[in-house]
């Protein structure tokens, strides 16, 4: 009986979409880059194909990054990054799904230092993270700026011992996203 009710309820509620008052800001431009610095070699790559949404009604934020769109200047490194480290055919997206901890008045322009807690998924591995950043709120526009580190070991990205010194264990990621109001 309980099971049956649960199933019925799931269909009723599960089908319901976002709360009515949702205010969605959608990423128009995005730049996500990462940087790995070691004495031997600096590795950097830039991705401009990410998508993201902020729901200002409840502070939810989602980010989706197509891993194979990271552009390296050394194409062999790019190939190895996709083939061996991030395995982008198996795990095509890196995602973040979280909630902004601070309560922000999105109708008031200004710069807000914020943090978002949620799940960062890279290489198919989920990590509970709180990521800091700043939001610059304008009229129907939000700019997000964030810098954070990703530990390769957290996401089961293994570096062979032979190349250990060339790739940092900690990768510095920075993201710049411009959102515009898309739905009221």
């Amino acid at each position: 009986m309980v099971k049956k009710l649960f199933i019925i309820a799931f269909f009723c509620f599960g089908g319901s979409i976002l709360p009515v008052e949702a205010q969605l800001y959608t990423a128009k431009n995005s730049e996500v880059d990462f940087f790995s610095k070691t004495p031997i070699e600096d590795i950097k790559a830039l991705n401009t194909k990410s998508s993201s949404i902020i729901n200002t009604a409840n502070g939810e934020i989602v980010v989706k990054i197509p891993v194979d769109q990271f552009q390296f200047s050394n194409k062999l490194m790019q190939q190895h990054f996709n083939e061996n480290y991030l395995e982008s055919e198996k795990y095509p997206y890196a995602t973040f799904k979280g909630k902004i901890n601070e309560v922000i008045n999105f109708t008031k322009t200004g710069v807000y230092e914020v943090s978002a807690s949620g799940i960062l998924n890279i290489h198919g591995v989920n990590q509970e993270r709180t990521i800091k950043g700043s939001l610059t709120v304008g009229d129907g526009i939000i700019n997000l700026n964030s810098k954070f580190d990703v530990l390769l070991i957290d996401h089961k990205i293994d570096i062979p011992k032979l190349v250990f010194k060339k790739i940092a264990e900690k990768i510095a990621v920075s993201a710049r996203v411009t959102y515009i109001l898309s739905k009221k």
Binding site: V62, S73, N74, L76
Partner: protein, 291 residues
């Protein structure tokens, strides 16, 4: 009590759903992405693979072939003698590359251009295979007696390279090939020789693969003393480098040499150990200064 559980249960899917919905609103990337790493290097072993050097990247390739294993202990199983090919290969863009090389064996200079006509797509089956065209010219400069004109020492080749990456660790390639020698070494040989290359790659770990390559020359074109070229290799990646350790029955590394002039038999132990190593440099300045 039961009722409370029930209410809680009802709330959970909705709470979970709300965030998932937001994620679902993010569309999948519309960028067409192409399979990368159908083969690890621009050469399968001796012959070209469908891969090209990336845009504004320069590949410096050093290839060695040692003498035959059956030379025995006195010659340290062939390691006492070696040939080398030094190559510089440059990517004009992500599809077109040019390259040149100089082999110590017969003092051959070779030049080639290679173009990716079709690239196998990875997020759909729109293009199910890769097709790369490669064509080149080579000239021997070793002194002969009597001396030969530069025309007589020249040869040309053209290949269609058709490959498919079946899954993350397995690729196959078929390469119909045409080689023209202005003056074959053996009088009765045809000047123009048709052959077909068959090659495969199988990944044994994330960074290591086994390659095999066989170049079949269609019958009645070259002298019976020549054999078909057969090679296999172990490819290792060491971040920015690809290192290929190989065994082949050919001493030469240009198409004329290994397809039409191989005379080593695997059965007789005429096997050459060798390796190809490449180092990639990037000249994409704009990208470098950006951050």
């Amino acid at each position: 009590m039961k009722r409370i559980y029930l209410i809680l249960l009802l709330l959970i899917p909705q709470a979970l759903k709300a965030q998932d919905e937001l994620m679902d609103l993010l569309s999948d990337s519309t960028e067409v992405s192409y399979k990368s790493g159908t083969f690890k290097a621009n050469r399968i072993i001796n012959g070209h693979s469908v891969e090209t050097v990336g845009k504004k990247n320069l590949d410096f390739v050093i290839s060695h072939r040692f003498d035959r294993l059956n030379r025995g202990f006195d010659e340290f199983f062939g390691l006492d003698a070696a040939t080398i090919r030094l190559g510089l290969e440059y990517g004009i863009n992500d599809r077109l590359m040019v390259g040149m090389g100089r082999s110590s064996y017969q003092k051959v200079y070779d030049y080639f251009g290679k173009y990716k006509l079709l690239r196998q797509t990875s997020n759909s089956e729109k293009i199910p295979l890769s097709l790369t065209l490669v064509s080149g010219y080579a000239i021997r400069t070793q002194k002969t007696n009597p001396s030969l004109s530069s025309f007589d020492r020249s040869s040309y080749f053209g290949q269609f390279l058709l490959a498919r990456k079946f899954d993350a660790g397995f690729s196959l390639q078929v390469s119909p090939t045409l080689i023209h020698r202005n003056r074959p070494d053996t009088f009765n040989d045809s000047e123009t020789v048709f052959s077909t290359g068959f090659a495969g790659m199988y990944k044994i770990s994330k960074r290591a693969s086994i390659n095999g390559e066989y170049n079949y020359v269609l019958p009645n074109q070259i002298d019976d003393s020549y054999t078909n070229n057969f090679s296999f290799s172990l490819d290792l990646e060491t971040g920015g480098h690809v290192f290929q350790l190989l065994f082949t029955n050919s001493f030469g590394m240009t198409e004329r040499q290994f397809i039409t002039e191989t005379n080593g038999g695997w059965g007789k132990g005429d096997i050459h150990f060798g390796f190809n190593i490449s180092r990639t440099f990037s000249f994409e300045k704009k990208n470098k200064n950006k951050w």
